[in-house]
């Protein structure tokens, strides 16, 4: 049988291999399980990062991993497994401006003898707590200012002679979109404002793999703070309002032709594309939906949802709305997952309620729930990042007052249960802005007059300048997890300005 050289050689090799296999088998198991990959390792995460994944080199004893995994400071969450990969989904977004340590010292793999895991230690950070505002006094006057609370650092982003009218941060906080008049234009009307983007000096370092993120990771180094890029001029068209999509790639700007006021409507500005008008019926306030694909535009008495990219075969001159909500005349905010919105119904169809407004919670499942009703008006509403709470700036008609006066106050509503918390009463004032921190832990408010319950040393001065206030929303971790706001006293910020907006 082994007459040929091949057979003899093959048989010899087979014997040698059998011996080698025996030696390896007898030598025992020398490998130990280890963490192959941790998706947030050394990255900077934000509210859009709701879960991290740890991939092990071997199938693990899941209970031993879950029992021994620690995060410091603690972040509560739920564990789920897909084979060797464990996902940890946070219950509430991690607080901003902190470093977190993930540690797994002891865990066993699933082999019969339960080999020990190589100890694992990793770190990640959340983005800095930072906000931008339009300065009000001194060298900050009319300029866009970035204040980083985590590092206690203030940067003025725009040139001294420019007048910043409005702004919105890009999704990862590396840039801010703003509308401004340059010095020569400042004497003209607001309608001459041009649109620019300015770098904030923040280098985002987001995890590569985000569970909820839309769009690409931005350029590695966006450059130092204060680099300005023009986005839209105001030569033929005046620029009114604008919004940035959640993926940061699409801008929508409301524009009107200088020579033909009927030529009025939203324009789409995309990276590396010529700005173009969206051929839609003219409308008012607008908002880009969280999917970055559609525009919520106030049209006539209702709200239209329009596609930002009209279908190719659409031969109609005007983009057809995907949906039209005839009852709602205003949209304040949409939940991060895009499934629900906070909308205002002006109650025009109900003769008894003609002079009231209602704030509705509207879902894409057709649910419409009235959350609040007022005889004053709704100024703003913003969803908490967990989508459980809605913070609202509302005014009530002050009936005791002799003249018509609206009394503003801040309130929070649980959108599911309807529970309402009145958080803060504010003095009557014409302009009021609020901004909810991306982690949902604090609110920023601006105020042109003195706060009732705040103590200021110099009331006269307070009247003249615009103060900004920070309102912490939860007094304890338990309250945060339970979603029951328990605000502490507002803190007055050391600078003056208007329109403070948190960086995402």
């Amino acid at each position: 049988m082994l007459g040929q050289r091949f057979y003899r050689a093959a048989a010899t090799l087979a014997l040698v291999l059998a011996g080698a296999i025996l030696v390896v088998l007898l030598s025992g198991d020398h490998a130990s399980a280890r963490v192959r990959q941790f998706s947030w390792n050394e990255h900077q995460i934000g509210v859009e990062d709701s879960a991290f994944a740890i991939t092990f080199s071997r199938p693990m004893n899941t209970a031993s991993v879950e029992d021994n995994l620690t995060i410091d400071p603690p972040l509560s969450g739920r564990v789920s497994w897909a084979g060797r990969r464990m996902a940890y989904t946070l219950d509430v977004p991690a607080a901003y401006g902190r470093a977190y340590t993930v540690r797994l010292d002891e865990a066993q793999d699933l082999t019969t003898q339960g080999n020990k895991l190589q100890p694992f230690l990793a770190q990640f950070r959340t983005r800095d707590r930072a906000f931008a505002y339009i300065g009000d006094t001194g060298e900050e006057e009319n300029r866009l200012v970035l204040y980083n609370l985590t590092r206690d650092r203030r940067d003025i982003l725009t040139p001294p002679d420019w007048v910043v009218m409005d702004f919105k941060p890009y999704p990862l906080g590396d840039r801010i979109l703003f509308a401004a008049l340059t010095a020569s234009e400042a004497t003209n009307s607001r309608l001459d404002q041009q649109i620019y983007a300015v770098t904030t000096g923040i280098t985002p370092n987001p995890p590569q793999e985000a569970f909820g993120r839309l769009g690409d990771v931005p350029a590695a180094n966006p450059g130092p703070a204060g680099e300005i890029t023009p986005i839209l001029d105001s030569q033929d068209y005046q620029n009114l309002g604008f919004d940035i999509s959640a993926d940061g790639h699409t801008l929508v700007v409301q524009r009107v032709n200088r020579n033909d006021p009927a030529d009025f409507g939203p324009w789409i500005v995309r990276d590396d594309e010529e700005p173009r008008p969206l051929a839609a019926e003219p409308g008012g306030d607008f908002l880009i939906a969280p999917d970055s694909q559609s525009l919520i535009l106030l049209q006539g008495q209702g709200t239209a949802i329009l596609p930002l990219t009209p279908p190719e075969d659409d031969s109609a001159d005007v983009v057809q709305p995907l949906d039209f909500l005839s009852d709602y005349g205003r949209v304040f905010d949409m939940s991060r997952d895009g499934t629900s919105a906070a909308m205002v119904n002006y109650n025009q169809n109900n003769p008894d309620e003609r002079f009231t407004q209602s704030l509705f919670f509207v879902t894409n499942q057709g649910e419409e729930k009235e959350l609040l009703r007022t005889d004053g008006s709704f100024l703003d509403a913003q969803f908490d990042p967990t989508n459980r709470l809605l913070y609202c700036l509302v005014t009530d008609l002050d009936e005791d007052s002799e003249e018509y006066q609206e009394q503003p106050f801040l309130t929070a509503v649980n959108v599911r249960e309807g529970t309402v918390w009145d958080l803060l009463a504010l003095p009557p004032q014409p302009n009021l802005h609020m901004s909810l921190a991306p982690d949902g832990l604090a609110l920023l408010l601006d105020q042109q007059t003195r706060l009732d319950m705040a103590e200021t040393d110099d009331p006269e001065n307070a009247e003249l300048s615009s103060q900004m206030w920070l309102l912490p929303l939860f007094s304890s971790r338990e309250a945060r997890l339970a979603g029951t706001p328990s605000p502490t006293d507002p803190e007055r910020l050391p600078m003056t300005g208007v329109q403070p907006i948190w960086l995402p």
Binding site: F6, L13, I21, T55, R58, G83, T111
Partner: protein, 339 residues
């Protein structure tokens, strides 16, 4: 009912993932098969056994064929005078060491890049070792199937420029369709594999025609195998209790043996087997996945009938034994020492 649902979902997801790669593999191999002149290739091959084995195992880059297509090509290589080490190196490594399979493996195991690298390295190592053993034999004919041996005896060392005379159709087994004098089409093997000599010399129109025929034929054969394989994979995961699969998959030794057995039974094509393996990736050890990916393309059930057209059964037995032992040894080292 729930199990049926899960099973169907698994089955379709496997199919959807794998089908594009199968289609691409078939397209690519058909195109290259008809446009690469293998006689020139053979002439360029080194005669040194070890170098020849390495060269042979790398030829897969020019003939991206899965294990269903490699036997006929290896047979043609041998019959045209390629050294044994080249032909055997090709036979064993080509189904794995080729761009389509590497890409498919990469697509499936992107988060475990070492699987991709080790799959190629182990396949090459095994192919080269066995090819070297073959090269010890100066006269190959006692190892070969009698038909091929006879063919080999009548074929001179290749002359690159002139086509070798076609062997008489009477000497070959199978069902033939005789057309014009001198032309025939074998009905029981894929069209391109039955060509008497390299089709590169034929006019373009005919080559394209042959290529299309080959695509349809391979797609039908391999598609059927894929569907069957996907069905088996889905059934195994639904019907066999999860505890049994888990306990099999987690032992460093049992998992390798289980996956090698599975590779042998399932006979799934190497262009798509990585997706099949991926469905076990979460519970099975890395070594066992590698064993599946290395062993499967070299040795599987449906391959035996094809191999019998090339080698004697005893030779095949030795090849299987050595491939099995080498795979087991290498992947055992992975399991016990690396991961």
């Amino acid at each position: 009912m729930v199990q049926l649902n899960t099973g169907l979902t698994l089955f379709f997801s496997l199919l959807v993932e794998a089908m594009p790669f199968l289609l691409l593999g078939v397209l690519f191999s058909s195109v290259l098969l008809l446009f690469v002149d293998e006689r020139r290739l053979i002439a360029a091959m080194p005669r040194n056994p070890a170098l020849g084995a390495i060269a042979g195992s790398l030829v897969g880059f020019m003939f991206p064929v899965c294990e269903c297509g490699n036997v006929p090509v290896a047979r043609r290589l041998l019959s045209q005078g390629a050294p044994a080490s080249v032909a055997v190196g090709f036979l064993l490594a080509a189904p794995t060491v080729n761009p389509i399979v590497i890409w498919a493996t990469w697509t499936a195991f992107r988060d475990q890049p070492e699987i991709v690298v080790l799959r190629v390295v182990f396949s090459m190592a095994i192919a080269v070792t066995i090819a070297c053993v073959f090269s010890l034999q100066s006269d190959l004919s006692p190892l070969l199937n009698r038909g091929v041996a006879k063919l080999l005896a009548t074929t001179a060392v290749p002359i690159p420029a002139t086509p070798t005379p076609a062997p008489s159709p009477l000497l070959q087994s199978g069902t033939f369709l005789l057309q014009a004098p001198g032309t025939r089409v074998q009905l029981d093997t894929p069209a391109a594999l039955s060509l008497p000599d390299s089709p590169v010399s034929k006019p373009l129109r005919l080559r394209v025609r042959l290529m299309l025929d080959n695509i349809v034929q391979e797609m039908r054969e391999l598609g059927a195998v894929l569907i069957l394989g996907a069905a088996i994979a889905a059934t195994v995961q639904v019907v066999v209790p999860r505890e049994i699969i888990l306990s099999l998959g987690q032992g460093p030794i049992t998992s390798i043996l289980a996956m090698m057995a599975l590779a042998w039974v399932v006979s799934i094509c190497s262009t798509v087997d990585s997706f099949f393996a991926l469905s076990f990736a979460s519970v099975f050890t890395s070594g066992s996945l590698l064993a599946f990916l290395v062993f499967g393309p070299m040795v599987d059930l449906k391959n035996i009938s094809l191999l019998l057209t090339l080698f004697r059964s005893r030779t095949i037995l030795f090849i299987f034994l050595l491939v099995g032992q080498l795979t087991f040894l290498l992947t055992l080292i992975v399991n016990l020492y690396i991961s």
